[in-house]
């Protein structure tokens, strides 16, 4: 257990080092932009991974929470003049309460029925954002003012990179700690067999609700940061395809692996940029890559790579 924990700390340190060193390889601001989007997607995926990978509950509606966070920030700062951080906090609290309110009836459902319910909730959010033009700007979206932290106006790709990177490291650290806490152990028990976990005296519903709320809040905060970083937000962020994209990132990177979620987000955010090389064939290639990875690494990239590395290494006596 102790070794496991230290390995995780090592992972966090390694991630921090990568994040710190990356800008050295960035020739211009465009790379920062992709990195910022990666970090913010990764935060959503880290939260979603707690739900999918650890609690074994799927959600096809997290883009709804992401967009709600983004629009809360956009609307409260642009239309009501709230300070950015307060708006972000209000969005997170609002989304948390919403998630809490719907969690119980939703999480009673299992498997694909749960997928359907979360998908429906996400789509409802998307439709409402699309229709309430007076408040949200409708399908064309709305401009979001710059974020002020104290007296500092966060603007420019470099500044945003450090903000997003800091938020990402914080999210990873939180996630690793959650996994090692009572909550994490309860969740793993629940993933194995919910009834067995109940028999062992774990209040499974409470934990499921808790992790659902946590993952929704992660998504909301990432959405708020995204809205400010882009300076613009559209209802596409709430869409069904965006939700699918988040889940795909989690599964591709590796379920039940926080770093897997980060890797999945990084790959699927950067891939469309690399695939422009293939012009008309880019969707074909993207589909083939997804299928290929899932066939040959059914547990996702990070766990599969970690496993084969362990196999390569000579066995270490257990400490």
């Amino acid at each position: 257990m102790l070794r496991l924990a230290s390995a995780r700390t090592g992972g966090l340190v390694a991630l921090a080092a990568i994040v710190a060193a990356l800008p050295l390889f960035f020739p211009n601001n465009f790379y920062y932009d992709v990195a910022i989007k990666t970090a913010l997607n990764a935060i959503v995926c880290i939260g979603l991974n707690l739900l999918i990978g650890y609690a074994g509950q799927i959600s096809l509606g997290h883009a709804g929470f992401f967009a709600l966070g983004g629009y809360a920030s956009a609307i409260l700062t642009a239309r009501y003049g709230w300070p950015g951080l307060l708006a972000m906090l209000a969005g997170a609290v609002g989304v948390g309460l919403l998630a809490f309110a719907i969690a119980r009836p939703v999480l009673r459902l299992r498997g694909h029925y749960l997928a359907m319910a979360t998908l429906g909730l996400g789509i409802i959010v998307a439709i409402i954002i699309n229709r309430e033009i007076a408040i949200t700007g409708g399908p064309d979206g709305m401009t979001v003012p710059r974020l002020w932290v104290g007296g500092w106006r966060v603007s420019g790709a470099v500044a945003w990179y450090w903000v997003a990177a800091g938020a990402l490291l914080l999210a990873v650290w939180l996630s690793l700690n959650l996994i090692d806490s009572t909550l994490g152990r309860a969740l793993r028990a629940l993933h194995g067999s919910e009834i067995a976990a109940q028999t062992a005296g774990i209040d499974t519903t409470r934990y499921k609700v808790l992790v659902f709320v946590i993952s929704a809040v992660f998504a909301s905060l990432a959405g708020s940061l995204f809205a400010h970083a882009e300076g613009y937000v559209t209802p596409i962020e709430a869409g069904f395809l965006r939700s699918i994209e988040f889940v795909t990132m989690v599964v591709l990177g590796g379920m039940a692996s926080t770093f897997g979620a980060v890797a999945g987000a990084a790959i699927l955010t950067a891939l469309p940029q690399l695939l422009t090389v293939f012009q008309d064939y880019k969707h074909l290639v993207l589909g083939a890559i997804l299928i290929g990875v899932m066939i040959f690494m059914p547990n996702g990239l990070v766990p599969s790579v970690a496993l084969s590395l362990r196999r390569l290494r000579p066995p270490v006596p257990a400490s």
Binding site: Y113, I124, R131, V247, P298
Partner: protein
């Protein structure tokens, strides 16, 4: 906006029956399409517990391939038949080369979520291939029996809808016969109930999976061909049809083709009634609220088996 429904009805008393019928027909038109797509989801789910997110692409392929063959000079019936065969072959290939290698890996098969991502990858791949090979334009197949609508009490029904409903009825009867009377059908049912037990009694589970993909791809293609005169067809129409078909299958209770039919019709009629009597801008919200309400009250869908969880 407009006058309230009540005022309008007072003015147009006799028209309101025709109006209601027209909304109903509109609902049936759309619902029958959802239902036919939903049945495909249900078949694969029955056999493998996998939600095939590429089901919508089968529907697209049916319509697009028929269009392509038609423009190559084939008669409609032959083009349609070939399109169904081609799509079924693609369904078999999807199973053989993407789903099966993952599901039957040495050292434990992939989880259901992994299989879902594979089908998502497949849908992107198929859509990408169609985009390159068949182009990005939207096309319309000619209606099978003309565009002249049928007048019923002042409401108009697209004759093409009768083709869709007929196919739906045939599919339901055919599937019922298939599951109750044929060896393959019974084996499929057995596999869906308990896979291990099915294997133990000598059922070739791989074969069953393969057959389920072929069958649902063929049905999807048929749906695509029959509905193309109504919905038009395009390389990316599968996203929307897949989503609505999935909703239909879930609403009816997964794994039950008959449930999917009921679910699809219910969904279509709910959308049309919401658009007609409440607000066309919020009709999809109404449809999803109904789905959520049904799921909260009956967590296994309308006609889903009350499954007991294995411990």
């Amino acid at each position: 906006m407009t006058k309230s429904a009540a005022v309008r009805h007072a003015e147009l008393g006799t028209a309101s029956v025709a109006e209601f019928l027209q909304f109903l027909f509109s609902g049936i038109t759309v619902g029958a399409i959802y239902a036919l797509v939903g049945v495909g989801f249900a078949i694969i789910y029955s056999a493998s517990n996998v939600i095939n997110f590429a089901q919508g692409e089968f529907v697209m392929l049916g319509g697009m391939a028929t269009m392509f063959l038609l423009s190559g000079g084939e008669p409609l019936w032959l083009a349609a038949l070939l399109a169904i065969v081609i799509t079924a072959a693609i369904g078999l290939a999807l199973n053989k080369f993407a789903v099966e290698p993952a599901a039957h890996r040495r050292g434990g098969g992939a989880s259901v979520v992994t299989l879902i991502i594979i089908t998502i990858g497949a849908s992107i791949f198929i859509r990408g291939a169609a985009e390159v090979l068949l182009g990005k334009d939207s096309h319309r197949l000619p209606a099978f029996s003309g565009d002249q609508p049928i007048d019923i009490f002042g409401a108009k029904l697209d004759p093409q809808v009768l083709w869709v409903l007929g196919a739906l009825a045939l599919a339901v009867v055919g599937l019922r016969w298939f599951f109750a009377r044929t060896r393959l059908g019974k084996a499929m049912l057995a596999t869906s109930c308990n896979r291990l037990a099915a294997e133990l009694v000598g059922i070739d589970v791989r074969m069953i999976l393969l057959a389920s993909f072929g069958l649902s791809a063929a049905l999807g293609a048929l749906a695509g061909i029959l509905t193309a005169p109504i919905t038009l067809t395009r390389y990316d129409i599968g996203i929307m049809l897949g989503l609505k078909g999935f909703c239909a299958a879930i609403l009816g209770g997964l794994g039950s083709p008959f449930g999917a039919v009921a679910g699809g019709l219910l969904l279509g009629i709910a959308e049309a009634m919401a658009a007609g009597y409440l607000s066309s801008a919020y009709k999809d919200v109404v449809a999803f609220v109904i789905i959520l309400a049904v799921l909260f009250l009956a967590p296994g869908g309308l006609f889903g088996a009350k499954a007991t969880e294995r411990v």
